[in-house]
Each structure stands twice: as structure tokens, then as C-alpha cells.
């Protein structure tokens, strides 16, 4: 088992900077997720770790070894691809055995040992009985598990996942997510997991790095990222927060937009006065009686009933707000076209200086 350290690795394709100089330290045994929208450079980062892309700058350390210039086949890293990349002309068994046979170890692993290890790996993903099946005969979920077994069987020092669940339907995705987490716990292999699904990242990872435009915006434990986002992008991407461009007064006590003003509670961390962004998570808004202090007047644009909660889209001035309210808490009469007062729970808010 080994930790992973990235020291300023960067990669450009032509004039497009896919990954800007990035530092990350992932301790041994950690489950680390890289989260970001498509095109943010997360897959490129992963492929540099695996050795499929050569970084333009920086170094990659696995344990204490500098592997930056090592060939992929010499790194001993297991990877699960988005489309699984199984070899269609081989059976499940042969796919999983491939990595064991390809290994340049002496003495060569005996066939019996290979069979035993493959059987164990297939057992761990509950596919023992499919060992002789041709790959195309498997369902998507089964193919995914073969890919995991194939990556695990070589006892990798590091396990990489590139959006492994994106080709599965939602029920299977939740189930497989749990299985991956359990396998990782059981084996204790350091894992880097790339995804664009924040729910997946939060539920799986010990720590998350949120990426945007080739840069890590914030890295840390899911709870910290969720509760104390470092900037408006993290607040929006991870917490689903509504972003409101506003103006913070000189004293740092009141924000205003479109003639609407809202007092900031004492002791709330504020940026320097001037243009600012207020991030409100959907659960930070609730409906209030009119005339209450510190409320925002808004117009209901749409409502989406999902059972336990109801989601509202509202307009405050020309800013769009999203609110998520427990359905039983007086949402019955709140329909599109109605004017309402919104109470702001500042525990679910963050205030940032406006991005240039």
C-alpha cells in the first residue's frame, strides 16, 4: 500500500491548459474523489497518475518512488475505465487473468496460482459462476464488476476509477457504489475516484478535491466542503447553492441587490466591501409571515413536489433562488405566481467576494 503525491503536475493540449499545476497529497489507504464538471481536467489528471498521459511539468510519487517517467505497465496501478475496456474476445476468467499473466515476475506464477487468484477476485465481486462466460454475454453491471475484479487481482498499489458508474442505471449505481466502498475498506488500497456526481463523491470518499477549469478549487473532507465551501463554485457544485450577485456595504453589515436589502448577522464571516456573491443552499430558505425582519420578498415561479420535500424556484428581484422545504411545513398554498416572504437561515449561507 502506498500514498500518492502530486507535485505541481500540469498538462496542456495545444494551447488548452487541461490541468494547471496541481499539488495533492493522498495518504496510504485513503479513498479520494476528484469531482468536477465535464472538461474540468479530472480525467486528464487521473490519466497522468496512471501513466497514459505524460505531464508537461511536475512529478508523481507513489510511496517514496518517483513514477513520473515510468511506463504504465511498470507502475502496478489498477484502473477501472468508464466503458470498462474489457477484452471482448476473452472470457471473464481470461480478462481477469490477463494482468497476472502479463506480469514480469520470476518465477512465473503457476497456472494453479492464477486460477486461485482469479477465482478469489471473482468471488469478491460475486461473479464466480460467470467465470467461463464471454464478456459480451454479461449485463452492464456484471461487466463493471469484471472490470473491478481485473483491476484488483493484480494487487495494485493504487486503484483508479474513471467515472465507473456512469453507464449504469440509477438503482444499480447506488448498489455498486456501496460495493465499491466495501471492497476498498476490505482491501485498504489507496483509491482515486473520478466523478461528476457530487452525491457519489460525498458518499464514497474520505476526502474530495473539487476541480474547475484545470484547477483544484478546494480539497477536504466532504462535510467541510459542504459546510464551509471555499468559494461560490464549490458552494454551487457541491451544495447546490443558489448564487446571488449582490453588493456588500462599507460596514459589512448589509447586502443589497435590485433594491432588496438583507442584514448580515453579527459575526458572520464577510469578504471586503463591494461586489459580492451570496450562496444560499436550498435548505437555507423557508417560508415566513410577511413583515418579519430580515426576510426576502420573492415570486414563486415553479414547484416540484417529490414527496417528503418540495422544491421551489423563486425570483427575488431578477435573481433566481432555489428552495427545498419539507412538504408538510405549510407549502400547500404556495403555487406559481404567488408572492412570498423567505426567511434566510445563515447557517446554510456563505458570502464571497465577486469573482473577477
Amino acid at each position: 500500500m502506498a500514498g500518492l503525491r502530486l507535485e505541481g503536475i500540469a498538462k496542456s493540449f495545444g494551447r488548452f491548459a487541461a490541468v494547471r499545476p496541481t499539488h495533492l497529497e493522498i495518504p496510504s489507504g485513503e479513498f479520494f474523489a476528484i469531482l468536477g464538471p465535464s472538461g474540468c481536467g479530472k480525467s486528464t489528471l487521473l490519466r497522468m497518475i496512471a501513466g497514459y498521459e505524460r505531464p508537461d511539468a511536475g512529478r508523481v510519487f507513489l510511496g517514496e518512488t518517483d513514477i513520473t517517467s515510468q511506463r504504465p505497465q511498470d507502475r502496478g496501478i489498477g484502473m477501472v475505465f468508464q466503458n470498462y475496456a474489457l477484452f471482448p474476445h476473452m472470457t471473464v476468467f481470461e480478462n481477469v487473468a490477463f494482468g497476472l499473466r502479463a506480469r514480469k515476475v520470476s518465477p512465473k506464477i503457476s497456472n494453479d496460482a492464477i486460477s486461485a487468484q482469479v477465482a478469489a477476485a471473482l468471488e469478491s465481486v460475486r461473479l464466480s459462476e460467470k467465470s467461463r462466460s464471454p464478456v459480451p454475454a454479461l449485463s452492464g453491471g456484471e461487466q463493471q464488476r469484471v472490470a473491478v475484479a481485473r483491476a484488483l487481482v493484480i494487487r495494485p498499489r493504487l486503484l483508479l476509477f474513471d467515472e465507473p458508474l456512469s453507464n449504469l442505471d440509477i438503482a444499480l449505481r447506488l448498489q455498486t457504489r456501496e460495493e465499491i466502498r466495501m471492497l476498498q475498506r476490505a482491501t485498504g488500497i489507496t483509491t482515486v475516484y473520478v466523478t461528476h456526481d457530487q452525491g457519489e463523491a460525498m458518499s464514497l470518499a474520505d476526502r474530495i478535491a473539487v476541480m474547475r477549469a484545470g484547477e483544484v478549487e478546494q480539497a477536504g473532507e466532504p462535510g467541510i466542503l459542504y459546510n464551509s465551501p471555499a468559494n461560490s463554485f464549490v458552494a454551487e457544485f457541491l451544495g447546490g447553492a443558489s448564487l446571488i450577485d449582490c453588493h456588500l456595504d462599507g460596514a459589512g453589515r448589509v447586502i443589497a441587490w435590485n433594491g432588496i436589502s438583507l442584514p448580515v448577522p453579527a459575526g458572520f464571516p464577510v469578504p471586503p466591501p463591494g461586489p459580492a456573491v451570496l450562496a444560499i443552499k436550498p435548505e437555507g430558505l423557508s417560508f415566513a409571515e410577511g413583515g418579519e425582519n430580515g426576510v426576502v420578498e420573492a415570486l414563486v415561479r415553479s414547484r416540484e413536489y417529490t414527496g417528503f420535500t418540495t422544491a421551489f424556484t423563486l425570483l427575488a428581484g431578477d435573481r433566481v433562488l432555489k428552495a427545498l422545504v419539507v412538504s408538510t411545513q405549510g407549502t400547500a398554498g404556495i403555487v406559481p405566481g404567488k408572492n412570498v416572504s423567505l426567511r434566510v437561515d445563515w447557517r446554510h449561507c456563505s458570502l464571497f467576494a465577486a469573482r473577477r
Binding site: R75, F81, P88, F98, A102, P134, V135, R150, I154
Partner: protein, 562 residues
Amino acid sequence: MRFRSPGTLLTITLLAAVFGICVVYPLGAMVAESLHAGGKFSLDHYLFLFDMSNRVNLEAVGNSVYVSVVSVAFSGVIGLFLAFVFTQFRFPLRSLLARLAVLPVALPPLVGVIAFLFVFGETGIIPRGLQLLFGTAAPLIPAGGISGVIMVHVYSFHVYFYLFVSAALGTLDGSQLEAATGLGSGPWRTFVRVVLPELRPGLLAASALTFMSSMASFTAPLLFAGGKNFITLQIYASKLNGDIDLAAAQSVLLTGVSLLFYLFLTLGPARRSGYARKGTGAPGLMSPGKLSRRVMIVAAFTLLGIELLPVIAIIVLSLAREGSWTTQWIPSAYTAGNYAAFFTDAALWKPVVNSLEMAVLALVASLAFGITTAFLVSRMRSRLAGTWANLALTLPYAVPGTVVAVAFILAFNRPVLPGLPTLLVGTFWILPLAYFVREYPVVIRSVSASLEGMDGSLLEAASGLGAGPLRRFRTVALPVLLPGILSGGVLVLIGSLGEFVSSILLYTYDSRPVSVEILAQLRLFNIGAAAAYSVILMVIILGLLRLSGGLLASDRRMSYIL
């Protein structure tokens, strides 16, 4: 059987009549003839073929098989190598050269062979040049005999391998190679265990196609064999000797071999598993070291150079003054006269016009027959029946040109039915009919492929949106099928324009096609004129290819050649 309208029934009857008269009847007549001697049933002709005391025929079959096997081997190595270099490496002019690499299959058979003859033949440019260079008494390393025929085959047929392998490499899933590498597999192991299995269907298909084409090859043996016997030449000789029954028996033998490979081709390896692939291609991952990379690129350039030499030579020779190329390595005097003559002597255009006329006739017939047939077959309920119907209908594709000619001679030298005045042999109509029979399968294949590729829900969506049958066909089906129809049609034109193998047995002087005229000029040692005709033919064909959008470039169009 579902209800069919009277119109549909009439169409089916018409198509069946065409197929019966043009395909079944001639081939049947040929088989019947081969089983007759002296007016009654007999196996004499076949016994004669395998007569141990007169080994000419056995020897011919042996030579044909030997040449075919060796052609497959060498074509495979060269085609695989070129495909590998062109898909895996990036270097200047790559895409242009990749397109030039398929030029040899676009050349009409006769033009390709005589161009090759001019460059590598006994009195060709290279052997003469080497003679001059080293001061030897005779031209050095001329191509001829068995090895000459093999060289011509490899020159033309390695392109099949090149196309199939490039297509397979192009749709290879890059992440599969990455996965193999990540699991600790080196380049060689990855190639053998992961890439090669993916190429296997393509390699098998190309092998079968090359073998079939080599067995059926007539032009190369005719001009290059130097006295060696081949089965196609035997058929030709038997016909010229007036021994048409023997020619029929020989034809049946050759057709049997061809059909075997055709069945293998269509029912066998090319059918792929349904495993979803992303098909990004995987350039660069297989890359070997820098030095071996350079060596391979240089080797590929050299091969391409050799490939282009015949084309360049034929252009140069078309500018040669007649009689200026006897013992020199290249002609000593040049003139535009070979072309200028076309503007002063309208009669020179006669063969070109003949070929164009006959090709257009074949095209119209092929499109009409091919498109309707493909539609009807696609509407058959049972998939299996559809497959077999398609196979039966496209069967003439597997019949060598020499055999088609022999069958036509046997079938159409008398009225098809007693009382009818039709006497096709010796008339203008026999050649367009032969071209039609040889080329229409291409249209069926291309249209069927488009039909298969067409999502059935498209038409359902259109009808749901209120479009009637005619509107659906015009606005939805036709635009989707048009590329298939177009490239099928262009292939028919190209095949007919340069057709030589059937023509040489069936032509009449008044309707002689360009290919026959080229051979005639060559026999008169009018090399300049022969080359000029060849260049004109080449220009027309390249123009047509441009029209259809590229040189058999895509994976899709591959299935039409097949």
C-alpha cells in the same frame, strides 16, 4: 406470407425473370454443357481435367492455387504493415499518403497490369535502368513468370488487407490498450493478445477476398505468365480452340472454388460480436522506439513509392513518341501527339464512347434491379430467409469474369426460348448484360447495408408525424439510403468502364471497350497510344471516385466491396 399488392407481385415476377434469364440460365447452361459429350450425359470433360497422363489442367490448377496462397501471404504482410504505420504514427503528408495507398485497387485490372509490366516487366523501366547502371548484357531482375504474377497480385490485393486492418485499427477501443498496458502488458504482448484478436475477422476476410481474386485473376497471367499455365488461361485457350465444353468444365471447377470462399466471406468472419465499443482509435500507444519508428516510416514511404511508380510510368509513357522506347530505359523522345490525335481523329474516341455507353446501360440496369431487390429482401419476414436470399442474389459476385463470359457464350448463342429471335452473342448487347450481371451485386450490397443501418423507428416517427408512404420514402428513406446508392452506383460504373476479363471473350469489333483497345494497341507496340487510353480511363475513374467522396475510404464502403 403477408398480403402483397398486385403491383408488388408483378415486380417480384419481373425481378425473378431477370434473375432467371441473366444468372440462373447461363450458369445452368454451362453446368449442363460441361456434363455433355457427344450429345449425351457424360463425365468425360471432368475426367479429362483430372487425367494423370495429360497434366496440363492439373498443373494449371496447381499454379493458380500456389500463386493465390503466396499472394495472400505477401499481401497480408505488406497490407498489415502499411495499415499499422498509417494508423499508429503521425508524420507529414500522412492523410494524403494514406489515401494514395489504396490507388492500386482503383486501377482497372488491365491498366494496373500493363503499368506494372512497363515498370518491372522484362523490358520494363527498372530492369532496363539497372542494366544500364551496371552495364550487364540483359535487363536485371525482371519480373515475370510465376513470381511476376504474384508481384502483380500483391501490388493490387495488399490494399484489401490495408483497408480491412486500417478500419479495424480505427475502431479499436483505445481504453482496451490502456487497460492492457496498465495491467503490466508490454507492447508486443498487447499487440498479440489484444490487438490481433480484434483484427482477426478483417484479416480472414481480406485473405478470402485475395484468394478469390487471385484464383479468378486472368489479366496478370495473360500478360505476365510467360508460358506458365493458369486455370483462367486454360479456359480462355479452350474457348479459342473451339472446345467450349471443356471450357465449361474448367469454369465449373473454378467457380466451385470461388463460391466456397464467397460463402466463407459472407457467412463467416466479418460478422462481429455485439460488444459495445467506443471506437476512438488508439494512436501512439503501440508506438515502438524512436529508431524502429523511423525505419518503419521510411519503409512505408518506399513501398508507397513502388506503388506509385506504375501510375507515374504510364503517364510518362503516354507522352512517348511511338517507336522511341525500344532498348532505352525510358523513351528517348516525347510528344503530346498521343493525346492530340484524339482531337483530330474522332474514331479514336470510339472505344471510350463504347465503354461509357455500355457502363451507363449496366448502371441503369443494376440500380433498377439492385435497389428494388434490396427493398424486397429487406421486407422479408424471416431474417434467415433474407440472408439466404441476399446471398443467392449476390452470387454472381463470386463468379470469375472468365466464367461469366463462357456461360454467356453457351447460353446466348441461341434463342433463350424456342421461337424468340434473340441472338445476343456477337451483338452490342452482350457486353452491357455481362457487366450488369457482374456488377449489380454491389448495388444490392450497398443498398442492403444502408437499409440495415437505417433505424426502423425513423420511418415510424415519420408516419406518426403524418407523412404518407411516398413522403416517407422521399424525405426520410431516400436521404438515408442515398450515400449507399451513390457509392454502389459509382462502383458499378468503375467496374464496367475498365472491365476486361469478360470483354475479351465477348466483344465485337464495333462495340470493343477501352480495355480491349488498350490490349490491341499494346500488341501493335503502340505503347504511347495504349498508355494514353489508360490515362484517359484512369482520369475518368478518379473523377468518379471523387464524386462519390473519396477512395473507398470508410469502413462502410468496405462492406460494399465485399
